[in-house]
Structures are given as structure tokens and as C-alpha cells.
């Protein structure tokens, strides 16, 4: 069975760079590539009743948008290059979900982009790259 690589994207430039880097690696090694978009979400937030009522609808919209605007273009471009690529959209905390996906798909490596936050910003808001490196079950490559 071929190796599997996982790349996290979010529609940003950093994510696109990571996707390019990962597809190059996948092409070279003939690995399968899983392209993941994680929509930031937590089950422990405080919502208004209106938000709760609309939540299911919003979730569908969020998934559709992520798929059509980010995942589909990337995956079809990769397929065009002959890579065995697959897209996935999930809700949750980015670092946790990417680790989870790595286990599910038995990926050997994770690629992600970075925001290039200042130290202070990263301390205040937490950086996905920083926490993923701590929790990931497999090696993580952060693309500058």
C-alpha cells in the first residue's frame, strides 16, 4: 500500500503553499494525499437561541463553502497531476482534528502552513502549528 500524506488547508496563502509542497512530495513518492479543511468550532460555547436554531443550516453552508471554494479546486488540480488526492472537511479544533485525521487515514506525515504570528499573538490566541506539533501522532512539517 502506498504511503498517505495529510495536508491542512484553510483558504489562506499559507495553506495553499502547504498544499503545493505536499503535492510535490506526493507526486515524487506516489503517495496518496488527503487534503483537510478544519472549520474552527467548539462544543463549549455560549450561543443565543437563534444561533442554535440556525446551527444545522449554517453548518451545511460552512461545509459547502469550504468544499466548493477551497477543497475542490485543490483536489482537482492535484488529480490533474496524477496524484491520488482526497478532500475532507471537518468541524473542531484544528490541531486535534488533524491529529485525528492522521490516525484515521494512517497518514505518515502532516503538512501545514503557518500564519507567521508574532510571539505575543501566538501566546494570546494560540497557534495551530504550535499545538499540532505537541499533539500530533506523526511528524509535522510546517511550510513557511
Amino acid at each position: 500500500m502506498a504511503d498517505t500524506l495529510l495536508v491542512g488547508v484553510d483558504g489562506s496563502e499559507g495553506g495553499t503553499r502547504a498544499a503545493k509542497f505536499a503535492s510535490k512530495r506526493a507526486k515524487e513518492s506516489g503517495a496518496r494525499l488527503v487534503v483537510a479543511y478544519v472549520i474552527e468550532w467548539s462544543p463549549y460555547t455560549f450561543n443565543t437561541p437563534q444561533e442554535n436554531e440556525q446551527r444545522h443550516k449554517r453548518r451545511e453552508e460552512e461545509i459547502t463553502r469550504a468544499e466548493s471554494e477551497v477543497i475542490q479546486p485543490l483536489v482537482s488540480a492535484m488529480k490533474g497531476e496524477g496524484i491520488d488526492a482526497e478532500g475532507v472537511v471537518r468541524h473542531g479544533h484544528a490541531a486535534e482534528v488533524l491529529s485525528q485525521l492522521a490516525r484515521e487515514h494512517k497518514a505518515g506525515q502532516i503538512f501545514i502552513g503557518r500564519l507567521g504570528m508574532s510571539k505575543l499573538k501566538a501566546m494570546l490566541f494560540g497557534s495551530v502549528a504550535g499545538s499540532l506539533v505537541q499533539v500530533s501522532p506523526v511528524p509535522v512539517t510546517v511550510i513557511p
Binding site: 462544543p43 455560549f46 443565543t48 437561541p49 442554535n52 436554531e53 446551527r55 444545522h56 453548518r59 461545509i63
Partner: protein, 514 residues
């Protein structure tokens, strides 16, 4: 239609101003609003609170018996589910049993938090003070007991709310007593009765939304505002209508203008205010730890043989039960509307989660308020004081600056409760008059007007109307619950056996892969 509404809104907004000019001489505007509305609210309260005389000066309101009997029945019928499932409910809230595939949907925690922000509010701060000032410390005991019994009732109504909710094509959901009364009773071959009860419930819920969910909140937050800005001498002292207009404008901006950011901010601040409030109460209790045994003594002793309470034992009991029901809303049906938005395959799980609502609301937060009032002894000193002023005085005796924090907490609690109840009211209004935007808007306009009325009135008539409207909701709701209890029991038995057999298990990270 739009023109009509604009004209309507303009008239209503300007009317108080023109009255104010007329009334500047003899009677204050607040007094005039009070005189106009009180006879109506008194009449309504008289019907809902029909009392059986126990002694010469105390009667037992039939509606209180109705609620307590239903809560006690549910507690025994579901075999103390509130104790049995307490731990499991904690696991459900934590998300241990939530399917990871449902990430992004409304979680149990979110549904509970939303419902709680509708119930935790002035009932916990002002309502308890009313109970203790009228019923003595012993009222606290009955309040806690009513909270405990109410857990089982809340469990039943929230399970049904999820089971019989409407799920629309566009993915939005609507649930609550109006749906389980009409659909649930139709399943039992009582469609006619179900429809009637659903409509009756919806009407009462609209009144409750305008009363307890609105006027009472506006009134009490105004009282506390005046309190901290100098009492009688405050520049706002006789300008309840002005305070009402400001709050109405803020509420209107959120619910009509759709400025959800204000609502979002409120929903995020309120939990922290609740934590600050409970922490302050705990600090006062710890500071006076030597008085705690005496306070418990007064609470338990006062429950059975109170001194100086009108009606003695029954007087304390009525006050305790009445305030508990007003605070945690078990049997009222309102929370069921909020809980219905959760994403779950098992309606029973939301019912179990909802058990925690009366627990947090009444057994934890109300008890804190009561202990502070009893420990500081202000309920005897502050004679003639009721509601939020008394609570404020109790906290002030420990921290002189606390009334300001309390004023902020009260106004925020009131605001979030108003937002929740405007939602409940609007759901019932559109259930009755059709789900159109214009109907939704019309209700929200009426809602804003009642904010002004509530802020302008005296406490007495406001409390009576709030109580009667909210308690009236329980008439239809509980009739339906008795008929539908077996449905809940069947769901519970099935779920519980699958849980015990291991068919329903916690999701672990490795399992989520499948």
C-alpha cells in the same frame, strides 16, 4: 403592512413622551402607567392564583399545588431519575457520548447553556429575596425541595421537546410544548385536545414572555439602577419610562435590527457574571462560617415552624415553591423550546442534560442568595424591602461596592433573559399566527413596548402579572405531560437498557475512525 407597522411603532414611541408632558404637573408618568395597568394585572392574577383558604389570612394557591404534585409525581414515576442519572448527565454535557461526526452541530453543552441563560436571572437574585422576606428563612428549604422535584419534570418536558420538534427543509428546527402537545397527543388519539392545549399554551407563553420574561426583568433592573445611583434622590428615580425606553431600544436593536453581535456579547458575559455572583456569595458565606450552622438551623427550623410568617408553615412553603417555580421554570415548558435545538439521535439525552438546569439554577444559585440573605440577617432589618433591593443590601453588608457589580449583573441577566423570552414568545406567536416575517416583527415590537411598561410600574402588580402569566403556561403543559409521561418512560427504558448493555458507549478517539 410595513407602513402600518412604522406608524404603529412611531405612535408607541412618542406616546410616552407626550404623556410625560401632560403629566408633568399632578401625577408622575410612572404612576399613571401603574394606575392604568394594575387593575388588569390584578384581575388576571386573581384567576390564576385562585386560593383555597387555609387560615384567615393565608390561602393555598391551587396552581402551586398543581406544579408540586406534578413534579413529585414525575420524580417517583421516573424512579428518582434526577439522582440515578446525575452522573451520566454530566458525561453527556462533557460530550463523552457525542458522535464526533456531529461536530459543528448544536452540542448538549450549548443547548444547556442557552436554556440556562434564559432561566438564570432575576428569579435567582430578586425572587429569592421576595421569598425570604415574605416566607422567612424556611422558604429556602421548600425552594430547594421544589428545585429537586422540578428536575424530573424538566427532564420529561425537554425529552418531549426534542422528540416532537419540527425539522424544516432548510435545516432549522422548532420545538417546545406547542409541538409535543399537538403532535404527541394526536399520536394518542387525542388530537383535538392536543391542539386546544397547544394553542392555550402558546397564548399563555406569549403573556409569560411579556410578563416574567420582560416586565419583571425591566422593573427589577430599573430598581437596582435607581438603587445604586442614589435611591430616591437619583436623577432616574421617577423616570422608569425613560429607563424602559433605553432598554427597549437596546432589545429592539438586537431582536428587530438583527444586531446579533450584542446578543453574542451578552451571552458570553452572562456566564461570567453568574460565576462572579456565586463566588461573591461563597466568599460571604466563608467569611461568616461561624454563622452558617445557625443559618441552616433557621432555614430548616423555619421550614416547619416559622415565627412571624403569615400563615406559618404553609406560608413559608407557598413562598418557597412559588419562587422556585418562577426561577427554574420546571413544568412551565419554556426551557423545552430552547433545548429542542440540540443535535442528537436520542431525545432522552437532552432530557437528562436538562436535569442539571433546575439543579444549577435553584439548588446552587438560589441557595447561595438565600444563605447570604439569611447569614447577613438583612431580611429582618430591611423591613418593607423586597426583591433585588434586599439582595443588594445583603451583599453590601459584606462588600460596600458590591451593589454596583450587582447592578451590572442584574441588568445583564435581565437583558439576556429578555432576549431568551422574546425568542420563546416569538415562537409561540408565529405558531399561532403563521410563520411569517411580518408576524415575527409585530410580536417583537409589542415586546419592546412592554419593556417600557414594566420599567414604569410598581413591583407588586408586576410580580403578580409575571407570576400568573408564567404559571398559566403550566396548566396546559402539565395536562399534556401527564398524558405523555408513558412515552418518556418508554424512551428512558429503552435508552437505559442499551446504556447498561454497552450498546451505547462513550466515543473514544480510536473509535471515531470508523
Amino acid at each position: 403592512m410595513r407602513l402600518f407597522l412604522t406608524a404603529f411603532f412611531a405612535t408607541v414611541l412618542w406616546a410616552p413622551v407626550s404623556w410625560a408632558q401632560d403629566a408633568a404637573g399632578a401625577v408622575g408618568l410612572d404612576e399613571r402607567i401603574n394606575q392604568t395597568i394594575s387593575p388588569v394585572t390584578n384581575a388576571i392574577a386573581g384567576i390564576v392564583f385562585y386560593s383555597v383558604p387555609i387560615t384567615d389570612d393565608v390561602g393555598l394557591p391551587v396552581i402551586v399545588v398543581w406544579l408540586v404534585v406534578a413534579a413529585a409525581f414525575a420524580t417517583f414515576y421516573f424512579n428518582f431519575i434526577s439522582v440515578r442519572a446525575f452522573r451520566h448527565a454530566v458525561d453527556l454535557v462533557k460530550g463523552d457520548y457525542s458522535n464526533p461526526k456531529d461536530a459543528g452541530e448544536v452540542s448538549h453543552f450549548q443547548a444547556l447553556a442557552t436554556a440556562l441563560s434564559g432561566t438564570v436571572g432575576l428569579g435567582n437574585i430578586a425572587g429569592v429575596a421576595i421569598a425570604v422576606s415574605i416566607g422567612g428563612p424556611g422558604a429556602t428549604f421548600w425552594m430547594i425541595l421544589a428545585g429537586f422535584l422540578g428536575m424530573s419534570l424538566k427532564f420529561a418536558e425537554c425529552t418531549l421537546g426534542v422528540k416532537y420538534r419540527n425539522e424544516y427543509e432548510d435545516g432549522t428546527v422548532s420545538g417546545g410544548p406547542m409541538y409535543y402537545l399537538s403532535k404527541g397527543l394526536a399520536e394518542k388519539g387525542m388530537g383535538g385536545l392536543g391542539k386546544f392545549l397547544a394553542v392555550f399554551f402558546a397564548i399563555c407563553c406569549i403573556a409569560g414572555s411579556l410578563g416574567g420574561g420582560n416586565m419583571f426583568q425591566a422593573n427589577q433592573s430599573f430598581q437596582q439602577f435607581v438603587n445604586v445611583t442614589g435611591g430616591e434622590a437619583s436623577f432616574m428615580a421617577d423616570k422608569g419610562w425613560l429607563f424602559g425606553l433605553i432598554v427597549a431600544a437596546l432589545v429592539g436593536v438586537v431582536i428587530i435590527g438583527g444586531i446579533q453581535s450584542i446578543a453574542k456579547v451578552t451571552e458570553k458575559i452572562v456566564p461570567f457574571m453568574a460565576i462572579i455572583y456565586v463566588t461573591a456569595a461563597l466568599v460571604i458565606i466563608v467569611m461568616n462560617y461561624d454563622l452558617v450552622p445557625a443559618a441552616f438551623g433557621a432555614i430548616i427550623g423555619g421550614a416547619f415552624s416559622p415565627e412571624g410568617v403569615a400563615g406559618g408553615f404553609v406560608g413559608a412553603l407557598i413562598q418557597g415553591f412559588r419562587r422556585a417555580a418562577f426561577s427554574n421554570e420546571a413544568g412551565i415548558g419554556s426551557a423545552s423550546i430552547a433545548h429542542s435545538a440540540v443535535r442528537t439521535k436520542e431525545p432522552i439525552t437532552e432530557g437528562l442534560v436538562a436535569l442539571h438546569e433546575p439543579f444549577i439554577d435553584t439548588i446552587v444559585i438560589c441557595t447561595m442568595t438565600a444563605l447570604v440573605i439569611v447569614i447577613t440577617g438583612v431580611y429582618t432589618a430591611g423591613s418593607g424591602m423586597g426583591g433585588v433591593e434586599l439582595t443588594s443590601l445583603a451583599f453590601e453588608s459584606a462588600f460596600s461596592w458590591f451593589p454596583y457589580v450587582l447592578a451590572l449583573a442584574v441588568i445583564l441577566f435581565a437583558f439576556s433573559t429578555m432576549l431568551s423570552w422574546s425568542y420563546y414568545g416569538a415562537k409561540c406567536w408565529t405558531y399561532l399566527f403563521g410563520e411569517s416575517r411580518s408576524m415575527d416583527l409585530l410580536f417583537k415590537l409589542i415586546f419592546c413596548i412592554f419593556v417600557v411598561i414594566g420599567a414604569s410600574m410598581n413591583l407588586g402588580p408586576v410580580v403578580d402579572f409575571s407570576d400568573s402569566a408564567i404559571f398559566a403556561m403550566s396548566i396546559a403543559n402539565i395536562i399534556g405531560l401527564y398524558i405523555l409521561f408513558p412515552v418518556v418512560k418508554a424512551e428512558l427504558t429503552s435508552y437505559w437498557s442499551r446504556l447498561k448493555s454497552g450498546e451505547i458507549r462513550k466515543y473514544t478517539s480510536s473509535e471515531a475512525a470508523e
